[in-house]
């Protein structure tokens, strides 16, 4: 049955419903038989029945590659027998979230490079169409840029992988959207209450009926995934990146360095502060006891402040807890715009985009509130605690010289303010919006760096700057599109030159007070050159200058240089993209001014 089930799922992913998938998955796990049928069944089981058992799929995937004598999926041989199952393995199973389980990849870039290779194979084998290929290549390039930005430029920690979440819930939302569009609105005066109505007297209720009920279900599915998906959701992010020790460690570290805080034992009693007892050994026993009591009191109070601040960093989607900052109740006034949008949406993806956008808007508001709490409330509480400690010790100081301790407290009080500011800065979105302003030279350098890493240094564009003092700045949002546009041009060079990854690419940057240009050129084979000169270039120019790029991108996915042209001209007003052949080279020029 395993083989029949796998065949059926490879032919039609929805066929899983006709099989006892849970029993088959249990059988696979207990038998440890690691073939393509087992993998396909496990994949379908994890995707459709129980995503928490993804670790079993990971392990079988790794084992399957090992048994087949390869270390990475792009090395698998596509034979005619079982071809559909292998293509499913490459297309749907071998995604970045699965590839990063394999020890063979030493960095995120290597994972992305592998996915790009797989996408090329899938396109060649016609297992995906050009639009899907292009869309996923773009997504991969963008992730490389974001990762580069995240590693180099900022310390922002908030990240929800909405791309993975979209992928995960897309089928369910598509079904619900179909139900929504085919339903009629009920007219009876019944109400359904949306969880978390703000004002108890004005419950957030909407008229019941198939449409509203379905829309509430859609919202719930997206909200649940956005907040609580255990791999990609916000709660996981807040938990493991901030609450899970990082916050407490950061705030406590200076205090521990200077021995101002002591540990408590299992009974909750704070230990004697031996360090300061040693430094102040010449004081009377009475003075030492008083100092130690002050430091114990301080340790206890400080830990309480940390616990309180950690409680702010939690999520709530009802009214049960008022200390949490991240609240996601759905109010009636928020439901109505979604309903309007649902009415206008032509497909489930549009609606999904909108709901995720709204969730990000809400999250941005919470992040702002969180930064404010950290930077004002927490800072104030910590500062007053230090002042109270100083006042308590002042009473002791009247009797004993404790200048070293007081100096240490004052230095720590100042230093901890910086740590609090750094923590406040964690509460910003990691990624797209946090890429900072950059000069054109920097953008070109980053685009090459990202592309090199993606292509495993096989392609290394060379750069020449014709004038050193070009000071053109692009803001963060422009930088993102511009980088992806440039990387797409490099990708285009290797894809269409006829030389593959051996294609030498030259980038020349020039500018003056009147404007600037970036010229990307690469040689092409004689065959490619003939095609370009016999109408190919003309056709490409026509496509690039065609109207309504954005609409075409949305409905047709866009392709090649047309997409690049759109990305660049949308990121910088007035930027133009031209193409030509010069002395056997294919040349793309981006110019402005």
């Amino acid at each position: 049955m395993l083989a029949v089930c796998a065949e059926s799922i490879a032919a039609n992913e929805d066929a899983y419903g006709a099989f006892p998938l849970s029993a088959l998955a249990d059988y696979v796990e207990s038998s440890s038989s690691c073939d393509i049928d087992a993998l396909v069944v496990l994949y379908s089981y994890v995707r459709n029945v129980d995503s928490t058992r993804d670790y079993v799929l990971n392990e079988f995937y790794e084992e399957y590659l090992r048994v087949n004598g390869v270390s990475r999926p792009s090395e698998l041989r596509l034979e005619e027998r079982g071809r559909e199952k292998l293509l499913l393995l490459l297309r749907d199973v071998s995604v970045p979230e699965m590839l990063d389980f394999l020890s063979v990849f030493k960095s995120s870039s290597e994972v992305r490079a592998e996915r790009l290779k797989i996408l090329d194979i899938l396109l060649k084998e016609r297992a995906i169409d050009a639009d899907r290929h292009r869309a996923e290549v773009d997504e991969t390039l963008l992730q490389a840029v974001i990762d580069n930005g995240a590693a180099q430029f900022n310390a922002h920690k908030i990240f929800v992988n909405d791309v993975a979440i979209r992928r995960k819930i897309s089928d369910e939302i598509a079904s619900l959207f179909t139900v929504y569009k085919s339903s009629s609105q009920a007219i009876e005066e019944k109400f359904i209450t949306i969880d978390g109505a703000g004002d108890q007297d004005q419950a957030a209720a909407v008229v019941t009926g198939d449409k509203n009920t379905t829309l509430v279900k859609i919202l719930s599915v997206v909200l649940e995934a956005f907040l609580y998906d255990d791999k990609h959701g916000l709660d996981k992010n807040l938990s493991v990146e901030i609450r899970h020790g990082f916050f407490a460690n950061k705030i406590r570290s200076k205090l521990e360095e200077r021995h101002l805080i002591t540990e408590k034992d299992e009974a909750g009693n704070y230990a004697l502060n031996e360090y300061w007892a040693g430094i102040n050994a010449l004081l009377t026993d009475e003075a030492l006891e008083e100092i130690d009591a002050c430091l114990r009191w301080f340790s206890h109070e400080f830990n309480s402040i940390i616990s309180l601040a950690e409680s702010w960093m939690k999520i709530s989607n009802d009214h049960s807890d008022t200390t949490r900052v991240f609240k996601y109740e759905i109010y009636l006034d928020q439901f109505e715009p979604v309903r309007d949008h649902a009415e206008r949406s032509v497909n489930h993806e549009e609606l999904l985009d909108k709901v995720i956008e709204l969730l990000w808007e809400r999250t941005e508001t919470h992040l702002e509130a969180m930064r404010s709490r950290i930077d004002t409330d927490l800072r104030h509480q910590v500062d007053s605690l230090f002042l109270q400690l100083i006042a308590k010790l002042d009473d002791v100081r009247g009797q004993a010289p404790i200048a070293e301790l007081m100096g240490s407290i004052n230095r720590t009080r100042n230093d901890i303010r910086e740590d609090i500011s750094a923590v406040a800065d964690w509460f910003r979105r990691d990624g797209v919006t946090s890429i900072s302003s950059r000069t054109l030279q920097e953008i070109v350098a980053i685009s090459i760096e990202c592309y090199n890493r993606l292509r495993g240094n096989q392609v290394r564009p060379s750069v020449e700057t014709e004038q050193d003092d070009i000071e053109i700045m692009l803001d963060g949002r422009q930088v993102r599109s511009f980088l992806v546009g440039l990387m797409n041009i490099y990708e285009n060079c290797t894809r269409h030159s006829g030389f593959g990854t051996d294609t030498p690419i030259s980038v020349t940057l020039s500018g003056s007070s009147r404007g600037w240009s970036i010229r990307v050129s690469n040689p092409v084979t004689d065959e490619v050159l003939s095609r370009l000169e016999e109408g190919g270039l003309l056709g490409a120019r026509e496509r690039m200058s065609g109207p309504a790029y954005s609409q075409l991108m949305r409905t047709e996915g866009g392709s090649g240089l047309r997409k690049v042209s759109t990305q660049l001209s949308e990121s910088i007003e007035g930027a133009k993209v031209g193409i030509d052949t010069v002395l056997g080279d294919f040349v793309v020029v981006i110019s402005h001014g």
Binding site: F105, S239, H244, G245, K264, I315, S316
Partner: protein
């Protein structure tokens, strides 16, 4: 105990644990890994009697050119299962600051996590210790494991 692998991505926690392990076992060979991937590689080559690991780990070592990849909420569990599947003989200690996510309904709490890890690791499970830098109890628990045969 001669060879120990410590898997921990937080510099602060790593240095505290490292310092403590060396204070209890002065001659120990202690390797450290800061991510899921580097730990998996260390396990390929090293023969460790004990692996002390965090539960949540970034996929890759963070560096100026690598943001760490996906943060794996249960990366330590994934590593432990690799150890068992590869039939490595290491005992495993989980040293975590994990309490729970916002809502226990949606994920593990410490008790359910301990049950899961014990079931995954069988006899190789040595302990799940809650690391709280404000207390000393993690040291007492870890010391018992380090000194046990």
């Amino acid at each position: 105990m001669d060879r120990v692998l410590l898997v921990e991505d937080s510099d602060y926690k790593r240095s505290r644990v490292q310092e403590f392990v060396v204070s209890i076992l002065p001659g120990v060979h202690l390797d450290v890994a800061a991510s899921f991937n580097s730990a998996a590689q260390a396990l390929d080559t090293g023969r460790y009697e004990l692996v002390v690991m965090d539960i949540s780990l970034p996929t890759y070592d963070r560096s100026p050119v690598e943001s760490g990849g996906r943060f794996r909420a249960l990366g330590g569990r994934e590593l432990a299962r690799k150890i068992v599947r590869r039939r490595l003989q290491s005992r495993i200690v989980f040293l975590t600051q994990f309490d729970s996510f916002s809502d226990d309904v949606h994920s593990h709490n410490l008790k359910s996590l301990a049950d899961t890890l014990r079931a995954d690791c069988g006899a190789q499970f040595a302990a799940l210790i809650y690391f709280d830098s404000s207390t000393s109890s993690w040291k007492e628990q870890l010391e018992r494991v380090l000194l046990s045969k």
